[in-house]
């Protein structure tokens, strides 16, 4: 026979109503005042709700406050033992940044073997899951099962299943450059004055983001910071220039535009000796010498 669902009395319902109106929590004096209950009735109702897990007590300095507990989290901890509830609560508090084992152990005061058992049990119940951060694959971070991990753990839009998606990033970079080059060509054709052409060819992050979203290459919507990363990488490659201006309200704005010509190979880098990894060992008549150099022979016969 299934257990009967707990029946809440009028006092309990009053308390729940007051607490739902005050999500930040109430002291017992405030509860008594708003629910208009006597002290003994208040205490009995509070105890009943605590047992059912509908309430939780938190401390604000020296004062105790009562807060309504989320029904979902109640359901999440349904059927859990006491230790499991403690560990789950610690992991839940960490939010989408997660928490690693050592930290859980410190806060729960559980032994390692016991903790590992609890974590395994929670993982089996699909209440929590482990995530490997991209920067440190040896660490294991635990978080609530349904939560989306923070971008500092996953690496953001550039990582898929803990692997950096180089091809995706390269395609985005090439398409962004093509867009900026097209903007430049249009501006040069439509505006004979070079300053006017420059004003029209420079694009801000929002324009580039709009273009990328229209492309449909990315499965997820890119953040402004991620679009900026792509543009900055093109600046460092010497393909795009960047200018800062003061926009509305004196706010700093950054604009990006394609450079007319790609950076050329210049000077000594056109000669094999300029890019030779063993130039320091090269002497005439030696093991490495200009007369016997294979790089030089290939270059001369090209």
């Amino acid at each position: 026979m299934p257990p009967r669902a707990a029946v809440l009395g009028g006092n309990e319902n009053k308390l729940l109503e007051v607490l739902s109106q005050n999500p930040e929590g109430c002291t017992d004096k405030l509860l008594q005042q708003k629910a208009k209950l006597e002290k003994s009735a208040l205490v009995a109702s509070i105890n009943k709700l605590l047992k059912l897990g509908r309430l939780e007590i938190k401390s604000q300095g020296s004062i105790l406050i009562y807060q309504l507990r989320d029904v979902k989290s109640n359901e999440a901890t349904k059927g859990m033992g006491q230790e499991e509830k403690i560990v789950f609560k610690i992991i839940e508090e960490a939010g989408n940044k997660g928490i690693w084992v050592k930290e859980i152990r410190t806060r729960s005061n559980l032994q390692l073997t016991q903790l590992n058992k609890v974590l395994k049990s929670l993982e089996g119940k699909k209440s929590i899951r482990s995530v490997k951060p991209v920067n440190d694959s040896k660490k294991k971070i635990y978080m609530v099962y349904d939560l989306k991990p923070d971008s500092s753990l996953t690496g953001g839009a550039w990582y898929g299943e803990n692997d950096f998606e180089t091809e995706f990033v390269d395609i985005l970079g090439r398409q962004t450059l093509t867009f900026l080059q097209r903007q430049r060509s249009h501006a040069e054709v439509q505006h004979a004055d070079p300053a006017s052409a420059q004003r029209h060819m420079m694009c801000d992050i929002k324009q580039v983001k709009h273009f990328i979203s229209q492309l449909g290459i990315s499965k997820v919507e890119l953040e402004d910071a991620e679009v900026k990363q792509i543009l900055e990488s093109l600046v460092f490659d010497g393909l795009v220039s960047r200018i800062h201006t003061l926009g509305e309200g004196g706010k700093k704005q950054t604009f990006y535009g394609a450079i007319k010509h790609k950076p050329l190979t210049t000077g000594i880098s056109r000669v094999p000796c300029g890019v030779c990894p063993i130039i320091s060992q090269c002497i005439p008549g030696g093991l490495v010498s200009p007369q016997t150099c294979t790089y030089m022979k290939e270059w001369l016969n090209f």
Binding site: F164, V169, A195, H261, P263, T266, S269, C273, V275, M296
Partner: protein, 431 residues
């Protein structure tokens, strides 16, 4: 005797400097900076040929051969050389040569060698047995300044467009500074002067002169500076900033070709940020953390990057120390200059080896050319002469000359890098 002749020759070419008192041993030292200008001589001759014709080319070649000489001896040598190559001995114009000499002085390509004049009371040296006793030599700084201006115009053209490079070219033409001066900036020119210069050079750009000047002055390169807004504005070229950007451009090119575009991106990040942590580099580089780390340490191993330690605590614990990467630009410049001179030496060695390998063919080809010249002088058609070279010999010679030409082009490319790196080093010393 041979050593004495070599030393005598080197003294006239200012390669060696001698010092000592009478009846005491003479001490000689090598003037290294002067000696390192030798690979540039063909470029100097080419510049003068393009600007002032063949007569000027011959004159400069002779002066470079002799190191320093008087005007009369130089003109006499040039006339002798030109008479050999012309049929009619009377057609060598002495007045024309004189005027070419004057033009080269006015362009500062030739200067007085005042430091070679004897002290008062002493007899003048043999070569100085002429009126006035003034010795002349090539002013290498004037040529380097010309090459600098050409590089600036080319750099601006690649970075912006042709219009901007024309405006910069006008400012450089109006630069009234003395050629021997290694100054950090050009003389300032007003907006009206730029307009006037553009009207003569490229009238289509006159309407856009202000726009181009605004673009150039707003750019983060800092090559063109606005120093005064009075009367439309006064502008100048900052050579120190140009040398820095030019040197960075060459070094970046070396990194890109040697280590790849990903490594170049990391190098550019460290160069732009000056001092940066490994973690920050990997975030900005937009590549996997492991790859960024590997490339960063490759650059560090090859001495393109340095690590600066910043200790947070007095105990110098590695766990509480910041390790910041930076580009040691001055040290890197010196290291790459070494590589440049070594590369030039290697190319010279290979060229010498190729020509020695084919010396018989080269001599035969020279004899054939001389025979054709003599025949032409005697009125005989070159087609009537028997071919001295067989087809396979011609093919072999052609292949050898193609290689020599490629080596010469390679040398010119290396000289561009040497110019960029040397001038950056000098401008850092002066600042």
């Amino acid at each position: 005797m041979e050593v004495f002749n070599i030393v005598k020759l080197k003294l006239f070419h200012h390669r060696f400097e001698g010092s000592g008192e009478k009846n005491q041993p003479v001490w000689y030292s090598v003037d290294i900076p002067h000696s390192l200008n030798l690979p540039f001589y063909p470029m100097f001759v080419n510049i003068v040929k393009q600007q002032h014709g063949d007569d000027a080319e011959i004159m400069l070649e002779e002066l470079l051969h002799q190191g320093s000489t008087s005007r009369e001896i130089l003109l006499e040598t040039c006339m002798t050389r030109m008479k050999v190559s012309v049929k009619d001995q009377g057609s060598v114009d002495a007045d024309k040569l004189n005027s070419v000499f004057e033009v080269l002085i006015s362009r500062s390509y030739i200067e007085k060698a005042d430091d070679l004049l004897p002290e008062s009371g002493e007899p003048p040296p043999k070569k100085c047995k002429t009126t006035g006793g003034i010795m002349w030599r090539v002013n290498t700084q004037a040529f380097f300044n010309f090459m600098r201006d050409t590089h600036i115009v080319e750099f601006v053209k690649n970075r912006f467009d042709e219009g901007a490079s024309e405006v910069v070219s006008v400012i450089l033409t109006l630069n009234t500074q003395i050629c021997g001066d290694m100054s950090q900036c050009s003389s300032s020119v007003t907006y009206d002067q730029v307009l006037h210069g553009l009207k003569n050079k490229n009238p289509d750009l006159v309407n856009f002169a202000k726009s181009y000047l605004d673009i150039l002055t707003d750019s983060d390169l800092g090559i063109v500076k606005l120093i005064d807004e009075y009367g439309g504005g006064s502008y100048l070229i900052n050579f120190a900033n140009f040398y820095q950007e030019f040197a960075k451009h060459h070094i970046s090119s070396i990194v890109r070709e040697r280590f790849g575009p990903k490594c170049h991106r990391i190098f550019a990040i460290v160069l732009a940020r000056n001092m940066i942590e490994q973690k920050q580099v990997s975030e900005l580089a937009l590549m996997p953390y492991k790859d960024a780390k590997e490339l960063l340490y490759t650059l560090y191993t090859e001495n393109f990057l340095e690590i600066q330690e910043l200790h947070r605590t007095p105990d110098f614990s590695p766990l509480r120390t910041f390790y910041l990467f930076k580009v040691p630009l001055e040290k890197l410049t010196l290291k790459l200059l070494d590589v440049c001179y070594k590369a030039i030496f290697n190319l010279m060695e290979i060229r010498k080896a190729k020509l020695d390998e084919n010396s018989r063919l080269v001599d035969k080809s020279l004899r054939a050319d001389a025979a054709v010249m003599v025949a032409t002088q005697r009125g005989i058609s070159p087609n009537d002469l028997e071919d001295m070279l067989t087809s396979s010999e011609k093919q072999q010679l052609g292949s050898c000359m193609r290689l020599v030409k490629r080596l010469d082009l390679g040398e010119i490319n290396i000289l561009d890098s040497i110019t960029a790196l040397t001038h950056f080093g000098t401008s850092q010393t002066l600042s």
